[in-house]
Symmetry: C2
Subunit: 387 residues, 2 copies
């Protein structure tokens, strides 16, 4: 057979035709801020050929993911789905859809991800105002009330689980406060979903996002997103188009809803993985899952104290999923992390932003929230600190 | 150990605690517009635990992905990377970074994805003007010159491989034309990369995007993106921030570049997969790969003619990766597709937009571009058409 191809094309340049070795992935115990190790059943679920994103078998999986995300978040929001991107994409999706140019958005900043919300909201032409606390502290209801009274924002954005500090923001009463001011409540649950109690509807949360690779024990790249009927109504009434096509929920709703209108080619293998992760979550049950995370974290905290190490966050507001430990005087934070990684194949995280060099971040999330992992880490930490 | 968890939290609502069965994925031969079946070695590459997105082993893989994408696209653009989302995200990334509010963008619309470019560019406040052709046809250089002369746009956007029509847009001379008008050239290569000759630098393309799940034989969810130094310079000079945080190349460049500044948690398992897919592409070589796609497609076209079926696109402009076949009179397009799927586990695509109900779309891409698959499809098609 003669091909039309052989004529009139330029010569291929082979300068970048690098011959690389077959993939070799080191085995790490991922005890940093994420990704965490996935449940082995989740990895196995990815290990299939893709199917079409409009295949009836795939559409059924999408429905299952939606139902189980509602369970995980304790919400009845119809608009609950998985964004085809990492947690930051789902974060941006909340702002892209809810913020109209000129909307005042009040953001509680007590860590790196509060700052990221500020940075993102500005791109959607929000009038951003902020409420600050030192990194590692949380906002009281009365502090939030004062700020709301002063600012009257359209959206209040808080981080439930600050991945940069390990602090857990209490949410009781915040939803009522927002309703009093006719304001939407936006919540970052990236480091809480699947590991820390969340009651979105009970708390009156209108917009929330998370990730797959922490409390849900899944691989990264697909991210939970939800919005309440109140938030959907704001979206429905906005006069302009959402200024982000990929994350436009008016379009995504038609693909995840009964229309099944093509929007993008879904990351089907990650959907297999997320479905499996959520199946395991439902099988374990939220109460048991949260209890497991709390107990594993308390074991870590006790062990760190035994080593003479200090947690950065006050016990009452400490996340069970992510612990920040103060770097002792005379120890170089990065050197220890490198030693843990190269000598013990254990990854822990360093401090971000204000806390760079001052803390390590230890994650015990999802599948990795097991007492054996605490023992492994403490033992390695002890050896490295004494070496 | 007593946990702090047991007190004062609401009761968990189990209404959405659905007990679902362990994952079962039907085995399909994916001969539609994508996803295509991945190379089995690519699926195996995903089958590892994640590692951290700042792990030295991971950073090395990122470098390899960049080099091999440059080979695949035949470009030396330093700013060549993989976006953590599907092809539509990479598409949006080109516009988000290159379009400043008020910029005139000329878009060639001869299919569904031209319309999508129009829709996206508007969200970035471009002044959009369009050049139209019937779906299935392509633009001549003189038609492009007339439009450029009339419009003087800052960006000309074309679709090299229209997934909705199966037409291949010739690019020879278009880059020179754009330089003459001091205009950037933006190119959709979603259904061409890894299957159809592409010479980005030779053709003077400034912005391009693709997907993983077609010619590259990878799973969907991670997407090639590249921009030329000319496009980077426009980005550097823009006075405003890119109005899309997740896809902002000024930030992504710091993560993919030598700074390694944290931006998002990368979809590490998909990076494993993409690296493997690109490794296999480099091992096969572009010339052999393109030849294989062309020969497989020609076998399909001959077989379709034997069945009395007609291709929608003129032979000279037919994509080897995706063929549109006219639905014969008296045949219901959807019924046949359902039969192929349920009785033969073969997926082909239906027509989109203007071509809905009028054509089927048959993809022979990447790993699936094999003569055996043509035989399998033609045999099933014959039986179904005669039934």
């Amino acid at each position: 057979m003669t091909s039309m191809l052989s004529v009139s094309i330029p010569t291929v340049d082979n300068v970048n035709r690098q011959a690389i070795a077959p993939l070799q992935v080191p085995e790490r115990l991922l005890l940093g801020p994420g990704p965490s190790n996935a449940d082995p059943a989740v990895i196995a679920a990815m290990n299939h050929q893709p199917i079409g994103h409009l295949d009836p078998a795939y559409l059924k999986m999408m429905d299952e993911v939606q139902v189980l995300l509602r369970y995980a978040w304790q919400t009845s929001n119809p608009m609950t789905l998985a964004v085809a991107g990492t947690g930051s994409a789902a974060m941006e999706a909340t702002l892209a859809n809810a913020v109209e140019p000129g909307d005042k958005v009040l953001i509680g900043v007590n860590g790196y991800f509060g700052d990221r919300l500020v940075e993102m909201a500005g791109r959607y032409r929000a009038e951003v105002c902020t409420l600050h606390k030192p990194w590692g502290e949380v906002f009281s209801l009365s502090e939030l009330r004062s700020a709301m009274t002063a600012q009257h924002p359209k959206i209040l954005a808080l981080v439930q689980a600050e991945t940069s500090t390990g602090a857990r923001q209490p949410l009781e009463g915040v939803g009522d406060l927002c309703r009093e001011f006719d304001c939407l409540l936006l919540l970052d649950t990236v480091t809480s979903l699947g590991g820390v109690p969340i009651f979105l509807d009970e708390w009156g949360v209108d917009l929330a996002y998370s990730c797959s690779q922490k409390g849900l024990s899944c691989a990264p790249g697909i991210s939970p997103f939800t919005m309440s009927p109140r938030a959907v109504e704001k979206l429905r009434l906005r006069p302009d188009k959402v200024p982000n096509w990929y994350l436009d929920m008016t379009l995504l709703a038609k693909y995840w809803g009964s229309d099944r209108t093509y929007h993008h080619t879904a990351p089907v293998n990650l959907t297999f993985a997320l479905r499996e992760a959520l199946r395991l979550l439902a099988a374990e049950g939220l109460e048991a899952r949260w209890q497991r995370h709390q107990q594993t974290a308390e074991k870590l905290w006790a062990g760190l104290a035994d080593l003479g190490l200090t947690c950065h966050v006050e016990a009452a507001y400490r996340l069970p999923t992510l612990t920040t430990v103060r770097v002792p005087k005379g120890v170089d934070a990065k050197t220890l992390m490198r030693q843990l990684l190269t000598e013990y194949n254990i990854e822990v995280g360093g401090g971000l932003g204000e806390l760079a060099g001052q803390v390590w971040r230890i994650g015990l999330m999802g599948y990795n929230s097991q007492p054996e992992n605490v023992d492994t880490l403490l033992s390695a930490l002890k050896k490295v600190l004494l070496s």
